[in-house]
């Protein structure tokens, strides 16, 4: 198929449709409006349904209902809107419902800005709502990668019966890059959704469906939580993904995700010219965090330290520190809000840090 030049938001929407998602419930917020707009135009043409909800709270609950009835469904928003969705995210996790939520992160806290940011890392990877849960969180760093991960995002959601979040930023959403849509086919064996509330009678040949996150008895709630944790264990062991770049024999390892990881690649080139070998570990899944991949790279004798670069006050750096576990120094470079560091600034920090 020929390449198309597409905005990240539109490409994500198209990829979702091609992955079989025919239902979208959302609410306008910058910088992700191209997603609901694209869905509003396209879904009626494929026999699906786009609905603009009265709020992000309603939108995520519509997603909850559609998922409860077994549909492939998604919503998208940006940081303040995603905060509003956290109630629903917790219920989706508790009721073990699959769905995809896209967060085109903008600066915060509060109304913040509409510029790119990575300040929602904690919210995304730690669960965000109440209770012991994690969504699976995928962090694309190009429009093509965002497109390529949509099919698997829905498949992961179905296999593990969990919400999956695409954690991107305004740059990924607003940038145009060439994309290729490959025939979207599932690489996983998808379980039957025989738990879905679709209508039942004693003749239905299955138990009556009850979609629920209420377990009033201590033992029952424990059982549900054990089930979730057992699933999370499998996810941690099998689904963590990272890109490693230029890491062989590197002196310093930069750890960054999303757009920032690409800026780091430019910074690495600048350092290379100055004779300093810097490698990059780019988590593609930020939950589960790719501990094994990072640890392997950090264990190389040539590596002296890690530097985490983020558009935040330092969030993912905590996962990097937990992974490195004191074996080597871990530094942080970045600013909170929505200041995107330049390649030159990152390179300068790396060079200075090396001398220190």
């Amino acid at each position: 198929m020929a390449k198309k030049l597409m905005k990240g938001c539109e490409a994500v929407a198209e990829a979702a449709i091609q992955a079989g998602c025919h239902f979208f419930f959302g609410y306008p917020i910058t910088p992700q409006n191209d997603i609901p707009e694209y869905m509003a135009a396209r879904l009626p043409k494929v026999g699906g349904c786009f609905l603009q909800a009265e709020s992000e709270v309603a939108a995520i609950n519509m997603v909850y209902g559609a998922a409860a009835s077994g549909a492939r469904v998604m919503t998208s928003s940006s940081s303040p809107g995603v905060s509003l969705k956290q109630e629903g995210m917790s219920y989706l996790a508790g009721a073990e419902l699959p769905c995809v939520v896209v967060n085109m992160v903008r600066g915060g806290p509060g109304l913040g800005s509409i510029q790119p940011s990575q300040g929602d890392y904690f919210q995304a990877t730690r669960g965000g709502g109440h209770g012991d849960y994690h969504p699976i969180v995928l962090a694309p760093s190009s429009v093509q990668e965002a497109v390529d991960m949509m099919q698997d995002a829905f498949d992961l959601a179905d296999v593990y019966r969990t919400p999956v979040m695409i954690l991107a930023d305004g740059i990924i959403g607003q940038m145009m890059e060439p994309v290729e849509f490959h025939e979207s086919t599932s690489k996983r064996e998808l379980p039957k959704k025989d738990w879905a509330a679709t209508g039942w009678s004693p003749a239905s040949g299955r138990p009556r469906a009850v979609v629920n996150s209420l377990y009033i008895e201590v033992d029952e709630l424990q059982e549900m939580n054990d089930r979730l944790q057992a699933r999370y264990k499998i996810i941690r062991e099998t689904e963590a993904k990272a890109e490693t770049y230029n890491t062989d024999g590197a002196e310093i390892i930069v750890c960054a995700y999303g757009t920032v990881a690409r800026i780091c690649k430019s910074a690495i080139a600048i350092c290379e010219k100055k004779g300093v070998k810097v490698g990059l570990v780019r988590p593609i899944t930020v939950w589960p965090f790719p501990e094994k991949q990072l640890k392997e790279v950090m264990d190389q004798p040539s590596v002296k330290k890690a530097i985490t670069v983020e558009i935040s006050a330092g969030q993912m750096v905590e996962d990097v520190r937990l992974t490195v576990n004191g074996a080597k120094p871990v530094e942080f470079f970045g600013k909170p809000g929505s200041y995107t560091p330049t390649a030159e600034e990152i390179a300068e920090y790396i060079m200075k840090s090396r001398e220190a």
Binding site: A53, G199, P202, V211, N212
Partner: protein, 248 residues
């Protein structure tokens, strides 16, 4: 032996957890009987609330979904929109619907969402222990209005049926009560009308059911029914507030 009464199969055999004399049990039965009579059990999905009816999924013998507090109309929308052939109803109390879920119910009506809502108004939060609801009457004592509801402090009670009837997307809105056998018969008819409205694809339908809460009102069941008659019905007049189903 001749069978003179049979429980509807649309209620499970689970024992209701409601307090003695509570109206929820009556309304559960009415809804279940209507579903049976309309022959729609196999395509009905129930949305139950957070509140006293939180365990509704144990009683309604249909596929059921537990929604977050107040969000049932939004979640029900998700189920309805993914397959319009389904019959979807929400069962909500006054805290759930009239307070925290006010936006969701208004916009479900506004969209003309083809769902049915059974709204239990007993003028109090039951499950959490008798706090003031938006529907608590002026002067009524609750645990959070211990000196009686003061309208200057927190306004006068909200009339949901009348409010929703003003919304274009509403197709059938009626207020009923379950305090007397005659009213219970009328309530069942209203519930049936509401489901038929959904089946005909006319738009949003809601039945507000005035019910009692002997426990939190601090009354015997009989006293509570009398209190309902004397205090609630004058403020919340019964009757059809909107019906476009008869229009050609």
């Amino acid at each position: 032996m001749q069978t003179v009464f049979k429980k509807t199969p649309v209620l499970t055999d689970a024992i209701l957890h409601y307090c003695p004399g509570c109206g929820h049990g009556i309304v559960h039965r009415l809804v279940a009987e209507v579903i049976e009579e309309l022959g729609i059990q196999d395509r009905t999905v129930a949305y139950v609330p957070v509140g006293c009816a939180v365990f509704g999924y144990k009683y309604f013998n249909v596929d059921s979904v537990e929604a977050a507090h107040g969000r049932a109309p939004a979640a029900a929308t998700g189920t309805k929109r993914t397959d319009p052939n389904r019959v979807v109803f929400t069962y909500q109390g006054d805290g759930d619907l009239a307070s925290i879920g006010a936006a969701e119910i208004v916009h479900a009506a506004h969209r003309g969402e083809k769902i049915t809502t059974i709204f239990i108004n007993n003028a109090i939060y039951g499950m959490t222990g008798g706090q003031m609801a938006p529907t608590t009457l002026v002067g009524q004592k609750t645990t959070t209005s211990p000196y009686g509801r003061d309208e200057n402090h927190c306004g006068k009670p909200i009339r949901i049926a009348e409010m929703l009837a003003t919304i274009e997307g509403s197709a059938y809105i009626e207020r009923v009560a379950v305090n007397t056998p005659a009213n219970i018969v009328k309530a069942k008819k209203a519930i049936k009308n509401a489901f038929e409205c959904q089946l005909a694809g006319k738009g949003f339908s809601l039945v507000e059911v005035l019910s009692n809460c002997p426990t939190n009102w601090g009354m015997s069941p009989v006293e509570s029914m009398e209190w309902l008659e004397k205090n609630m019905i004058p403020y919340y007049p019964l009757g059809v507030k909107k019906d476009i189903t008869k229009e050609v």
